[in-house]
Amino acid sequence: MADIKFMKGNEALAEAAIRAGMHAYFGYPITPQSEVVEYLAREEPKHKYVLLQAESEVASANMLYGASGAGARVMTTTSSPGYSLMQEAVSYIACAELPTVFANVQRGGPGLGTIQASQGDYFQAVKGGGHGDYRNIVLAPNSVQEMVDLTVLAFDLADKYRAPALILSDGAIGQMMEKVVLPEQRPYRPPSDYRKEKPWATMGKTADRERNVITSLNIQSEQMEKVNIRLQAKYKEIEEKEVRFEAYHADDAEIVIVAYGVSSRITKKVVDLARAEKLKVGLVRPITLWPFPKKKLDELAKKPSVKFFLSVEMSCGQMVEDVQLVSNGRKPVHFYGRQGGIIPTAEEVLDVIKKHLKEK
């Protein structure tokens, strides 16, 4: 029988991590996602995971490195200012190739900003964030159900590619309550049980193998270049295999909205309102922000019927640059955004579309 609950986004994410077989959670409280650690603290006695409130996000992200390097399935969650502090570890983790799950439930910035929902961390999430050439797998849920589904997926993709997987959510999705179908609890296996699956992990050197070293240090240029080439090959494979998106009335659309997370919920309504007025508006919602659904957008950019793209974000315009890269001058790419935690209304967005249509 399906396990159906009515849950807050942040709590659903926490429950999904438990069910995905998480061994350890390290984190530091920050609004609007503290419910994750609070939920895990409440549930802790029923489970075997290790929960540690660290002294900072710098520490918690580095704890992820240590635990993952020792073979564990691990997660931390935070919001924008905290994710900035984690960038050091993310870069080291990317280079040392450690499967780790991060969630950034975004709030408005820059600086301490506002605790209201925002999508201002797209660049940081998708273009790297820390130093060096690396990519994160970035998953963008737009419902409480996807907080669950994409959290489970994040654990599995992180393991599959030995890479950090980031759930890029926002304060609205984190705080809202919806019905969710929960997956089954995966049976518990201690980290030491993963020797076979993770032969590279530091669990104590056994007589039948060389010592394992988890490191991001490649002091010789030739070695550093080799590592970069290996990482890029992995990223290429991810780009080929892991793109996920939702298309809504996109195939006959003359106006293509691109939006993710909470903005995509508003823009879905925009499509419905527009269609009611016989305006051919469609939506492409990236579920993976990296890898970005380039192929789908390229297909649409090629269509003579498509008039323009409109990227709708709760930022000053970040994802729009990736849409422009795909369009590459073939179609105009417009942007509409609100900042500071203000969620645009569907009517507002529809007006923007009508204004651009008149320009033509």
Binding site: A59, G66, A67, V74, A96, G204, K205, R211, N212, V213
Partner: protein
């Protein structure tokens, strides 16, 4: 071995047969050897996981034949915390310099100690940043010249050197804190005993074990290896006294906590 010779000394099997990158006379190599001798003697090679963060000894994993993780500058205690919590039956240690443990990683150090994380800190206090070429460390002595304190450390500007072994001994989570040195044969023997004791306390789950080594850096200090050993004795020891600051197995507690005094 040649006939007629008797082997009376060799490297432990836990130390890989490689030439070390350390400068001549640097005590990092001595400490590496002592730790690995203890690992060999206790028969815990397969149960030991080490962490080496940024600093001259980041390459410890090139020599120590146990599973190792390299940490970002200052984050060894965070890694060791997590590793030990994932594998409570293993022996976990971090091996850190003074810039690492007492400057950029102070928060991680203090909090791991306060939580009583059940791993061993090997803290190499050489009073200087060795790897980056001899800049001032949080442990550089008053008046000591470095490339970023060319006129000598001025405590009015940058504070007094931090006494880490004393500081952490005041935290409830710490089971054992001692400052040692490896500058004389006698001190080397004492150092090895302390390492073994720390590992044994770890096995008993008594809490954080913290061993500070008043160490040297002939290259950074711009003196000969022999001179550097004398410098530890004459210049460092008065400010950084050797000895046990806390040991829960013997009841020693030299720097008692303020709240205890209040009672």
């Amino acid at each position: 071995m040649k006939e007629g010779y008797e082997l009376i000394y060799q490297k432990p099997s836990t130390l890989l047969p490689r030439r070390m990158h350390y400068c001549p006379g640097c005590l990092h190599s001595t400490l590496h050897k002592l730790i690995m001798e203890v690992v060999e003697e206790m028969g815990i090679k397969e149960k030991t996981i080490g962490v080496s963060p940024v600093g001259c000894s980041v390459f410890a994993y090139d020599y120590m034949d146990v599973d190792m993780q390299q940490a970002a500058h200052g984050r060894a205690a965070a890694l060791a915390t997590a590793i030990k919590r994932m594998h409570p039956d293993k022996y976990v240690f971090s091996y850190q310099g003074d810039g690492d443990l007492a400057a950029i990683g102070t928060a991680e150090t203090i909090h791991a100690c306060n939580r009583g994380e059940n791993f061993t800190f090997f803290f190499v206090n050489n009073g200087i940043y060795g790897m980056t070429g001899g800049q001032m460390a949080p442990t550089t002595l008053e008046g000591q010249k470095t490339s970023t304190s060319p006129y000598g450390r001025d405590p009015k500007k940058v504070g007094q050197p931090l006494k880490m072994a004393e500081m952490v001994s005041q935290l409830a989570g710490v089971a054992y804190s001692e400052r040692l040195s490896l500058n004389t044969p006698g001190n080397v023997r004492k150092g090895k005993k302390a390492i073994r004791k720390a590992f044994e306390m770890q096995q008993q789950g008594l809490g954080t074990t913290f061993l500070e080594f008043a160490s040297n850096c002939p290259s950074g200090w711009k003196c000969s290896p022999v001179e550097s050993l004398g410098w530890i004795e004459k210049q460092m020891s008065p400010y950084f006294p050797l000895g046990v600051f806390k040991d829960v197995t013997t009841g020693v507690e030299k720097c008692s906590c303020a709240d205890k005094q209040a009672k």
